[in-house]
Every structure is written in structure tokens, then in C-alpha cells.
Amino acid sequence: MKYIDEFREHSLAQQLAAAIKQEADTDRTYRLMEFCGGHTHAIFRYGIQDLLPHNVEFIHGPGCPVCVLPMGRIDNAIELVEQHDVILCTYADLLRVPASQGKSLLKTKAAGCDIRMIYSTQDALKIARENPDREVVFFAIGFETTTPPTAVAIKQAREQDLKNFSIFCNHVLTPSAMQAILDAPEPVSIDGFLGPSHVSTIIGSQAYEVFAQHYLKPIVIAGFEPLDVMQSSLMLIRQLNTNRHQVENEYTRAVTRTGNVKAQSLMQDVFCLRDEFEWRGLGLIPKSALKLNENYAEFDAELRFQLPAIKASDVKGCECPAILRGAKRPVDCKLLGTVCTPENPMGSCMVSSEGACAAYWSYGRLRGAKAKRLSA
């Protein structure tokens, strides 16, 4: 497929690996955080870590919206269908995420509640049009990539006068999470960031300039294909070797400095900042998430159904929170591959196709464990 196959080309990967090996200084380590779960999966699926020297390490970041959603929000969604009898429309990733009391949206659906897996916000609007006598709630989740499609749906719901449509809003902001990681009381040691691919198509590379300037960390916006990840790692190594800390863009075929201005203005028109929002692993982060602004508040399911804030505890022993901060690796979790598997997940990082635990399970769960034994 065009724009995919060229970026997975084997001989170029070998050449890039040789360049990285040659340029990486053997007297130091390079700890690179890939912010996005999409990058984590590319690294494992294509065996990129094995192509790089041992002193170039990837630290897995929190860029997986399903993983960072606190369990209480899934409990809220279950309350919507169980107590308010709504049709809940959700992206597939959320269905198997563990909720309190051993529940999940999938189990709730199996018990007879009306939960529908959708591909697009357009599908949710269609369901609302076809069921005028039912309340239809869309479980809105995602970083800046997924937020503009929700904004379009809200504007269309207004135009089409869909009074039975609302959203349960869980949209979160990438720069806030990056800042929380860098400002943590015991920050994880990170030398540079592989910046998001598709979030950056919307917000532009300029959104990260403050981190390069203030925290003196190099950031390279990287595409999701394996050669993109390797080239971006090489660009980070070159910055670190020359003591530079700039925002560079490897993914120029889709990302500009200013991003998608049309999508940004749609988001600004429909959403406003929450004062604070809880993230699994990162805690309460001020101004890190969105809600519908006053003008569109009639479409806010939290207000329409007066949903309470639910505090829920993660499963005991689940290391998802530390893994999301980059403080631990999935192989450090005792539950990984024993009681926690994709069929029976204990934590969200095993559920999502962007979760770090799911990447270890699918593509190389023993790789990190072996290294750990050797160094022990």
C-alpha cells in the first residue's frame, strides 16, 4: 500500500540500524520516551529494539487514551446503560476495559444492556436518528486526533436538532500529559521524546516547543511506521550528541508546524478546558482534559444524567499506573501473562491495541524479562 510499504522497507531499516549503531556514543545511554502507544507497538511488532544498540532504550509513555482513563469513568458509563437505559455507543477499544466489581462494558452488554460498538461518530448520529424515542450517548474518548470528529458530530447534532443525542466526554490533551511526566516529583529519567504522529497532524509541531525550551529536552515528531521510528531515533541521538534540544519533525508528509487549523477551530468552538481531570497513573492533572462549553452543554451526558464522580481502585498488583509513567516496564508486573492476558485483562494496558502490556504480550513478552535476568 502506498505510504506504508515504502516505510517498512527491509534494506533501508538495516541501513538506518547501522547508522544508529555508528553514531550512538557507547559511553552514554539514550533513554527515549515514545509518547504514543502506536509507537510502542511499532517498536515491538517490527523488532526495532533488537536492531538498536543496548544503550538506546525506549521508555513507554502514556499515549494510550484507553489506558489512562480511570476506572471510575467506565463505572459511570455502565451506570448510564444500567440505570438510565440509554443506548451507549463506544469505540471497540473500551469494551473489554476492566471496571469495578469485575464488570466491563462487554459483560454489561452480554447481560442485556444496549451497548453498540461503532467505528465513527457518524454511526452514533445515525443510531440517534433511527431511535428518536431513546437517549443515545456517545462515549467520547481520545487525544487530539480523535477529538475533532467528536466536535463535528456535536455540531451536526445541533444542526439536525437531535435532542436525544449526547456525549460522555473523556477527551484529554497530549501536552498536559507530557508536562505531568516532566514535572513529576520523582521524574523518570528521559533524554528525549519521540513525539506523537497523528496528534501532531492536528496540533502541529509548535505545541511541543515549550518543552524543548523550558525542559531542555529534544523532541522529534515521528511517524508510526518502523522506518519513521528508526529515523526519528537517529535524529534524537544526533541532537543529544551535539547538546541540542529542539523540536524536529520527521513526519513532514503529514505534520506541519501549525497543524490542522480547521480542526483546531472546531475543537475551540465546541469544547473548553476542565479545571482538572484524573489520569490513571498520572493522577489529577490541571487543565488536561476537555468538556463541552456552555454553548453546547445541552449535549453533555454528565449534566443530562447528573453522573457522579466515582473513585475506583485498580486491581491489586496491577502495575498499569507505574507503566504509564514510564517508571516500570510490563515485565516488572507480576500479573503480566499469569493472571492478566488479553482474554482476561486485569488492567487497561493489556486491553488496548496501544497498551504497552498488550505489545509485550503480542510481540515479545520474554525479551525484557531475559534482559532483566542477565542484569540481576
Partner: protein, 76 residues
């Protein structure tokens, strides 16, 4: 969740801001509400039923050239 795939625009319906795109010969209809100035034959990144951005062919070729260049610098 942020995954998006490159798709070629094969028809645009301006009356409802939608387009038919092709991914590896599979055709789907997507919303064009987030992009301006695209024409039939352009490639766009498709995410949850929406075209997010146009893919810049010249920049794609430049990036591939950079991969090869990095390889040259490491040649023995």
C-alpha cells in the same frame, strides 16, 4: 486509538462534505469535514471515518531520501 491509514480519494461529494476513498482496493465513505483543498487522486490520513489531513507526496519522497542518506553515512 490514534491510528490512521493513508487512503486515496476516488470521488468527492461536495453536497454533504463526504468522499469515497480506497485503501488497498477496499472502498469506504469518509467525512471531509476536517480538510480543505483536497481533490480526487490525493491521499489523506483516515481516522474513525474522517479524513484528518492530506499527505504531502513531495515530503514523503524527501523523508525516504533521508533514510537512504543516513544509510550512506554509515557505509564502510
Amino acid at each position: 486509538m490514534c491510528l490512521a491509514i493513508p487512503a486515496k480519494i476516488i470521488a468527492i461529494d461536495t453536497t454533504n462534505d463526504r468522499a469515497t476513498v480506497s485503501v488497498d482496493n477496499i472502498q469506504v465513505e469518509v467525512s471531509m469535514a476536517l480538510v480543505d483543498d483536497v481533490i480526487v487522486g490525493d491521499y489523506v490520513l483516515v481516522h474513525v471515518g474522517y479524513a484528518l489531513n492530506k499527505i504531502d507526496q513531495d515530503e514523503a519522497l524527501k523523508t525516504i531520501a533521508l533514510f537512504a542518506e543516513a544509510g550512506l553515512s554509515s557505509a564502510p
